[in-house]
Amino acid sequence: MGSYIAKRLLVLIPVLLGMTLIVFSIIHAIPGDPADTILGDKATEQSKQALREQLGLDRPWLEQYFAYLGDLLTGDLGNSIRTREPITQEIGPYLAATVELTVASMLFAIIIGVNAGIVSAWKRNSWFDYICMLIALVGVSMPIFWLGLMEQWIFANELRWLPSIGRMNPRDPMEAITGFYVFDAMISGQWSQLWIVMKHLILPSIALGTIPMAVIARMTRSSMLEVMQSDYIRTAKAKGISKFLVIYKHGLKNAFIPVLTVIGIQTGALLGGAVLTETIFAWPGVGRYIYEAISNRDYPVIQSGILIIAVMFVIINLLVDLLYALFDPRIQYK
């Protein structure tokens, strides 16, 4: 297992290097003079020139790229042009907000999706199955921004059950310790705050988690259907083990590998949807950070933001691969 993990980690190096190259090239392919756009109408030619020098825009492309790589190796992501603060310092709270939202969304997607898929497979062709698969079909094709705004309208404006935006109640704000508010509330024992933080998480995680939930449900259903027809399940049933145990212990363990693949892919895809969700729910995460950087042409931030999302994607894939090995010991020897 150890050598497997080491091998997987080694493969990451060229992947990450390639990513930096792609991100860097895309950013620099955007037309227009960044200095113009960044500084806006009212800037003088002098400060534009100073910015070009500061960004190294007057240097050759390759030189810029290697300088960028060098900085990256020393853990320096550069400074944001808009706020003039170091990105490494700035990105922490954004990252925490995105991770918290992603985890909540995936928990929602996995718990509802896997269970709905299992029950659908088990009750194949029943009304429950049909309804689940209909919801899954609608869920996959639902635009996130539309779903988000509808949720706000129904659960916040009409029913008044849940807050529609933000991570906490600004009238009674929460002090950040780690930046993960759910943890922070638990560490400091503020149970009423924990409650409020959780309520703020519900609508955005449903908006973000609906597509993965639908995909996971469909995958679980078909995978379970296949497994349930295999011989060992028939044997287990014949031995008189309870149906619940047959399904959740024997069936699910084998049906789970393809589901795991889907979960991995969907978690990665979720990061893309986070930009929209974070905008609609005023969630101060990395998606928002990138979105605002794009509208301000804040190159260093766009570059670092995309890189960080890409790294998160790679890490998720690594985790999924390692989990495969856990579920199916044969895999690590390949």
């Binding site: 003079d33 003088t44 808009r82 916040a156 404006n157 529609s164 935006i165 704000p173 005023a282 101060p284």
Partner: protein, 546 residues
């Protein structure tokens, strides 16, 4: 039996998850989060929660140029002079009074006494000198890496041509400004938020961190900045204006999506919101718990002609097309009526506006006839490139749709245009170069209450390559504008600008389209708010009625 049991477990599992998350298990306490979580505090001086579209870039107003940053600056800092509530008229702020020498080169300000910065240090003449030196001296040790004082450079001239020669402290409460040449809008400029006075002690102590820990003399004291989320400001208990500010705390939240922001307002999560979409006006008006505010128009949206290109190098063609734009129709369709037709380049609220000028009315027959007189009896045979803005701005919510309406009118008089909307940065780049576009839509929002701030950057020949996107050259106009910049008597200046409007109307480098009145919405309990034409104002007078 087995089946039923596992079903029950299954459902319990799912339900308990949903219950934990949704908070339904607590019964009533999940209802109306805003009301239940805030009811207690609202009883005091209260908290004011403002929702806006974007976050601040930095909190030191002298190094930024974006409106969102300057909004916070107005709460934390005071300039020497300020704009009177709801207008662009200058009134005393940190400076109580002033005298101007006859040659217009020396301004002497008497400063308010007893004012303290939020860090407890005294506001005095030395503090004013410190701030102005910091902005004007390129080698200042308080100009930190990456900082540039763009507004200072653009209002008071770049390094090689500074308007302000020196600033010196005559005594504790007197400051003398000496200018290199007279500058008519000098006082107007001083009142702009970028020239607010910051605490020298705080700058010396915080150094480059000052931009996220601002210290001024303003109505509110900076408390906390959660990036892209909220900025929290506490009441300044020692504010020099008696009885202000009225609320104990202001929280400014960034909520980028217009609809989500409006949802939050309806839900009670914010008390005041900026930039209401005209589409939501009807919903707002049908809700008795809400009220609307209009920011006075201080902008202009226009259709510009590229005067270096055929056929727009001929003023007759430009005038003819002025008759072919239905401004009233555009306002009804895309501004929900929240705008007024523009006649001149400056809004009618600004002094120097020429009321005598009549607009070219919407009259397609007349347009066709004038076009024929200009030598185009069958319209224009080449297809022209019409640049329409790809982004929404306060003066123009949807440039493309407006362009389509104009395209249809033009087609009726035989002028064919194809609409293009490249990405915003490229758009601006192309307009200032003037090579790709034949006509275009763009606009401008005023920075201060001076007509020069519209005419010179937008229409003077010196501004070609900058914001004079029409590439319009008029020697008579240039003469008038330069004269107006050096004249110190306001009445005489007003006359000059009235003259400028006559020249522009006749030459018609533009079709002035609209002056929009941006919409704001608030809970009906919010009182004491007067939106300023400049785009932001101190929140000191606002309070929430119980």
């Amino acid at each position: 039996m087995l089946v039923r049991k596992s079903w029950t477990i299954m459902i319990t599992l799912v339900l308990s998850f949903v219950l934990i998350l949704s908070g339904c298990s607590g019964g009533n306490d999940s209802a109306a989060p805003a009301a239940s979580e805030s009811g207690g505090e609202a009883a005091g001086g209260g908290k004011l929660i403002v929702g806006r579209g974007g976050d601040s870039a930095a909190l030191d107003p002298s190094i930024v140029t974006d409106g969102e940053s300057l909004k916070i600056a107005q709460q934390v800092f005071d300039p020497l002079l300020a704009y009177k509530s709801g207008t662009t008229e200058v009134e005393p702020a940190l400076a109580e009074s002033w005298t101007i020498s006859d040659d217009g080169l020396t301004y002497t300000f008497k400063l308010r006494q007893g004012v303290k910065f939020h860090d407890g240090t005294d506001f005095n003449a030395d503090a004013v000198v410190f701030n102005f030196n910091r902005w004007s001296d390129p080698k200042s040790e308080f100009k930190f890496e990456g900082d540039s004082f763009d507004y200072y450079d653009s209002m008071f001239g770049p390094e090689e041509a500074r308007v302000i020669k020196s600033v010196k402290a005559v005594d504790e409460s007197t400051v003398e400004f000496t200018l290199n040449q007279p500058q008519a809008p000098f006082l107007q400029n001083l009142a702009m938020p970028p020239f607010s006075i910051a605490s020298p002690t705080a700058i010396e102590k915080e150094k480059e961190n000052f931009k996220s820990n601002p210290v001024g003399t303003g109505p509110f004291v900076f408390k906390e900045w959660k990036r892209s989320d909220s900025i929290t400001l506490d009441k300044n208990p020692n504010y020099w204006q008696q009885g202000l500010p009225k609320v104990d705390q202001v929280i400014v939240r960034s909520i980028p999506d217009n609809t989500a922001r409006f949802n939050a307002l309806q839900n009670g999560e914010i008390d005041l919101m900026e930039d209401l979409s005209p589409d939501d006006l009807a919903t707002l008006e049908s809700n008795p718990d809400l009220q609307k505010f209009n920011r006075p128009p201080f902008n202009v949206a226009y259709l510009g002609f590229n005067t270096t290109k055929k056929p727009f190098d001929d003023p007759k063609v430009r005038v003819a097309l002025n008759y072919a734009v239905d401004k009233k129709g555009i306002i009804d369709a895309f501004f929900a009526g929240q705008a007024e037709p523009a006649v001149n380049p400056i809004p009618p609220t600004l002094w120097g506006y020429n009321k005598e000028i009549q607009d070219y009315p919407f009259d397609l027959a007349k347009a066709k006839q004038l076009l024929a007189d200009a030598g185009y009896p069958n319209g224009i045979d080449q297809e022209l490139t019409f640049y329409a803005m790809p982004v929404s701005r306060p003066y123009m919510p949807d440039g493309r749709k407006v362009a389509e309406v104009i395209q249809a009118s033009f087609a009726q008089i035989g002028v064919k245009v194809s609409i293009q909307s490249p990405e915003w940065a490229t758009y601006l780049d192309d307009l200032s170069k003037g090579e790709k576009d034949d006509l275009f839509i763009i606009g401008w929002t005023g920075d201060n209450g001076d007509p020069d701030n519209f005419f010179y950057p937008l229409l003077d020949k010196d501004s070609i390559g900058g914001n004079n996107y029409s590439q319009y050259v008029s020697e008579p106009l240039h003469k008038v504008l330069v004269q107006a910049q050096q004249e110190t008597d306001q009445d005489a200046r007003a006359k000059l600008y009235e003259q400028a409007q006559v020249i522009v109307k006749k030459d018609a480098p533009w079709v002035p389209l609209v002056h929009s009145t941006p919409l704001l919405a608030a809970t009906s309990k919010l009182k004491g708010y007067t939106p300023s034409p400049t785009g932001s104002e101190p929140y000191a007078d606002i309070y929430i009625e119980q």
